[in-house]
């Protein structure tokens, strides 16, 4: 006979913790958080830098401090947390197979599930960087874990490929620990990370950021000896003659994050090709009934505050689902959300305007750098939200909010688009 829990939350990082607390506050007390690591907090434990929590707490916290606030919330509420527990599969009817050292291999039936597994870094192989495969190549996050959690500095002469936030943060971190960061190369003509990180992590330490550059060769059969960096053209193809050799013992990769949805696939849930996360509606429900998703497993965020907010919604919606509230009270009135001009994707993909009483968040990323632009949300009857922006960049997620009183005005598809000014 399978064990039971009302709400199973897969992942005890910022998303899982916030979802758990929110669901509890909606009256669901039988909650289990499954965390594969031996402590709660997820990736925040290794993000020892500050900059977290401005939106949520109005102050600047480090990753572990931010995590501690939510861990406290979960502990205060007495929510059950199974650390060291790896969920192996989820069936479409929410049967969860989990394994741990303490309790062995178990099957648990959940009334609702919240997916909060986070994301992983794109490895070297997925980047198709040619050359040898020596010691000394790490993703930025792996290096971050080694430096911050294990106290091990993996190298002294460093080149970083990709200007994602973790790469920028690690450029500073390794510099502070005594390493020499020679350059950060970025394939795109703009940075993949937040502007503040470019200022604080690169400019402060005079680390050059080479935009439109990439690594074209890796030297060293056993140990990394150096990398060759070349400029790329508009199609990201290296330009012959621009190659420059950098001697180094460490290459860090910060070339994008991928939502980790292997478990999601075991439940047969539909994945969005643009986000690599599940397709969800405005209640953050996936294509499997009673299975919700939030945080970086849904789409990669830049700010943990946005993760917490989103996870809170997932928690509340899961609680509503479990208590049967709002289940079939309304005739559904479903509208598609379309990524229009300049918009790469939207979360959610659909909205049921008859079945929501919360304000509607539409989150998205733009395709390019746009200056002096306007974000518009339009439906059959015209524009319902219009928001001017000094600048929008692909590396910073946008969030438009539609107030509940405007939802009634929606007819047909909801299209989110950018009116340019593009640079």
């Amino acid at each position: 006979m399978a064990e039971k829990t009302a709400l199973a939350i897969i992942g005890g990082g910022p998303a899982g913790l916030a979802a758990a607390a929110a669901a509890y506050d909606c009256g669901i007390t039988d909650i289990t958080i499954f965390e594969r690591d031996n402590e709660l907090g997820g990736i925040l434990n290794q993000c020892i830098h500050n900059g977290f929590g401005l939106h949520t707490f109005g102050e600047e916290l480090t990753g572990p401090e931010y995590a501690a606030r939510f861990i406290e919330k979960v502990k205060e509420r007495g929510i059950c947390c199974e650390t060291g527990s790896m969920v192996l599969s989820i069936s479409p009817d929410r049967e969860i197979t989990v394994v741990s050292k303490a309790k062995g291999l178990r099957v648990i039936q959940a009334d609702a599930v919240i997916l909060a597994m986070g994301c992983r870094e794109r490895p070297r192989g997925a980047l198709n960087i040619p050359g040898f495969r020596p010691q000394g190549i790490y993703t930025a996050g792996t290096a971050q874990k080694l430096v911050n959690c294990e106290g091990f500095l993996p190298g002294k002469e460093v080149v970083i490929l990709g200007s994602g936030d973790i790469g920028l943060i690690m450029a500073r971190r390794m510099t502070l620990e005594g390493a020499h960061v020679k350059a950060v190369a970025e394939l795109m003509p703009y940075s993949g990370g937040l502007k503040r990180n470019i200022v604080q992590c690169l400019d402060d330490y005079k680390i050059p950021l080479l935009l439109s550059h990439t690594v074209v060769d890796i030297k060293g059969k056993r140990k990394l000896e150096g990398v060759t960096i070349a400029e790329v053209d508009a199609t990201s193809t290296p330009i012959p003659g621009t190659e420059q050799y950098y001697e180094c013992d460490t290459l860090l990769l910060s070339c994008g994050l991928i939502p980790e949805n292997e478990l999601t696939l075991t439940a047969g849930i539909k994945i969005n090709g643009m986000t690599n996360g599940p397709e969800v509606d405005d209640r953050l429900t996936t294509s499997a009934e009673g299975i919700f998703a939030c945080g970086n497993v849904l789409h990669v965020h830049d700010l943990v505050d946005f993760v917490s907010e989103e996870a809170g919604r997932a928690g509340r919606n899961a609680a509503r689902f479990i208590s049967g509230e709002g289940a079939k009270e309304h005739e559904p009135d479903i509208h598609r959300v379309i990524a229009g001009n300049g918009v790469r994707y939207t979360v959610p993909c659909t909205v049921d305007t008859a079945n929501t009483d919360e304000e509607l968040h539409i989150r998205f990323r733009v395709r390019n750098v746009y200056k002096g632009c306007t974000i518009t949300v339009s439906t059959g009857d015209g524009v319902i939200v219009s928001k001017k922006k000094r600048i929008t960049v692909p590396s910073e997620m946008e969030d438009v909010i539609i107030k509940p009183d405007k939802l009634g005005a929606i007819t047909g598809d909801i299209t989110v688009s950018i009116e340019e000014g593009r640079v």
Binding site: M86, G125, P130
Partner: protein, 465 residues
């Protein structure tokens, strides 16, 4: 120290020979310059157990391929080697190429390959729906298979070790001298005395040969680049899809692996650099372009790694497996390019026959042919897995989340005989770090386990070599 037989090279051929010879009352030593077995060509190839229709009839390649293929079922049972007879197809693109397929079929039948048949497009599509639209017909070989080349090599090595063969690793052979009753093999570690020397040195086999014999052949490394795709892409094909062979090899193949990934490659470029195991932009591009000729819907976005291996292409066109004409007791197993992995078990028997012509071989009473691999919890039935975790709770602590490899399995890989001493060693034994994140998450923990076991700092833990 005096050994009856010293085997130079701990690749699949050297380890298979060691295992075969460990059946007999012989004192055996395997020497390799690397710190682990399976560090050369054996770790970077197509992982195919070829049917045997490709090699020219009458050659050693033809004979040993078909024999080797036939031995795999039993070896897989005895040595716990992941092996699947998934079959293979060679595709062609038009009526004008049909004679070439027929040639292959006839050649295969002459070589003794069973079950070959030519399929028209519809019949081929029924088996492989993702064949490219241009595919016209295919030669189908049901006896072709796929194997884990790491575990195959390790299994031979471990079983040889269990049966008292010794291994001297991290020892590069620097010279060989003929003595009155054998050889002195000089290495960067110890010098050893050998009655017989068996040269299984892969791309360096000609250099080893020339240390004590008159030059009689050369080895040219032929580089092959590969792309490995995520397990989510593994079902793109069910069997191995070849293109019609050229004189440089069997062309670009598209194949499932025994672990459910999809493998594309190899290219074929002769090189004079025996250490040139790097990939190149052109090579990787070419693998993509050419694989698309035989199979459609390959999700190239799901590439998780690329690698390159060096085939040891001999100057005679065939395997060179013989006792040197002048220097008696020196046996070459050289030029072992494709189908070398398939042939390895048969090459081992062939070497044993040569040895038996030099020394009398007496079977050991206590030879144990059975080697049990590290339990693979991720692919085990739930009941069995649950029971194992009850016995050993560390089998329940997942360290490598992509491949679902537990702390217990990693510990086994480090602690068993000829255990892993490097990150790559752990990866080849239990697949921790072999998955889609390519060791991003598990390497700090694996580094910690290796450091503790060896009593060294994190900085001392090596990725390879």
């Amino acid at each position: 120290m005096k050994y009856d037989a010293v085997i130079i090279g701990a690749g699949v051929v050297g380890c298979a020979a060691a295992r075969e010879l460990s059946r007999y009352e012989l004192k055996i030593l395997v020497i390799d310059r690397e710190s682990d077995v399976c560090e050369g060509t054996s770790k970077a190839n197509s992982a195919i157990i070829h049917a045997g229709f490709d090699a020219e009839p009458g050659t050693l390649k033809a004979k040993l391929n078909v024999q080797g293929n036939a031995l795999m079922d039993r070896l897989s049972d005895e040595l716990d080697i992941p092996f699947k007879r998934v079959g293979a197809m060679v595709v062609c693109y038009g009526d004008d190429e049909l004679p070439k397929l027929r040639n292959l079929l006839e050649r295969g039948e002459t070589n003794g390959v069973k079950g070959l048949k030519i399929l028209n497009r519809d019949d081929a599509l029924a088996l492989e729906p993702n064949l490219a639209d241009e595919v016209y017909a295919a030669l189908y070989a049901p006896t072709s298979g796929i194997v884990c080349p790491f575990e195959m090599t390790l299994a031979f090595a471990e079983n040889a070790y269990m049966n008292d063969a010794e291994f001297m690793l991290s020892a590069e052979v620097t010279g060989i001298e003929k003595t009155a009753d054998g050889f002195t093999v000089k290495t960067t570690k110890d010098d050893v005395e050998a009655g017989i020397v068996i040269n299984c040195a892969g791309v360096y086999a000609d250099r080893i040969h020339d240390m004590v014999c008159e030059p009689s052949f050369s080895v040219t490394p032929r580089r092959g680049e590969y792309l490995l795709l995520d397990r989510n892409a593994g079902k793109t094909v069910g069997c191995t899809i070849f293109q019609l062979p050229t004189k440089m090899g069997k062309g670009i193949l598209v194949s499932p692996t025994v672990h459910g990934n999809l493998l594309l490659g190899p290219t074929a470029d002769d090189t004079d650099d025996r250490e040139f195991t790097a990939t190149t932009r052109d090579g990787l591009d070419s693998v993509k372009k050419k694989s698309a000729l035989s199979v459609k819907n390959i999700p190239y976005g799901q590439v998780i790694t690329s690698f390159s291996g060096l085939r040891a292409t001999g100057s005679t066109g065939d395997f060179i497996i013989r006792e040197d004409e002048k220097i008696k007791g020196f046996i070459d197993a050289a030029g072992i390019e494709s189908p070398g992995l398939t042939s390895a078990p048969a090459i081992a028997l062939y070497i044993k026959d040569i040895v038996s012509g030099i020394l009398p071989l007496r079977e050991k009473a206590d030879f144990d042919p059975i080697r049990k691999g590290i339990p693979k919890l991720a692919s085990m039935p739930a009941e069995e897995r649950a029971e194992l975790i009850r016995q050993r709770p560390d089998y329940g602590q997942i360290v490598c989340r992509c491949e679902q490899i537990s702390e217990g399995e990693i510990l086994d890989s480090i602690e068993r005989p000829l255990g892993a001493t490097t990150l790559d060693g752990v990866k080849r034994r239990v697949r921790a770090g072999m998955g889609r994140c390519q060791a991003g998450f598990c390497s700090p923990k694996v580094i910690d386990m290796l450091a503790k076991k060896q009593g060294i700092s994190y900085g001392g833990v090596k990725k390879n070599g």
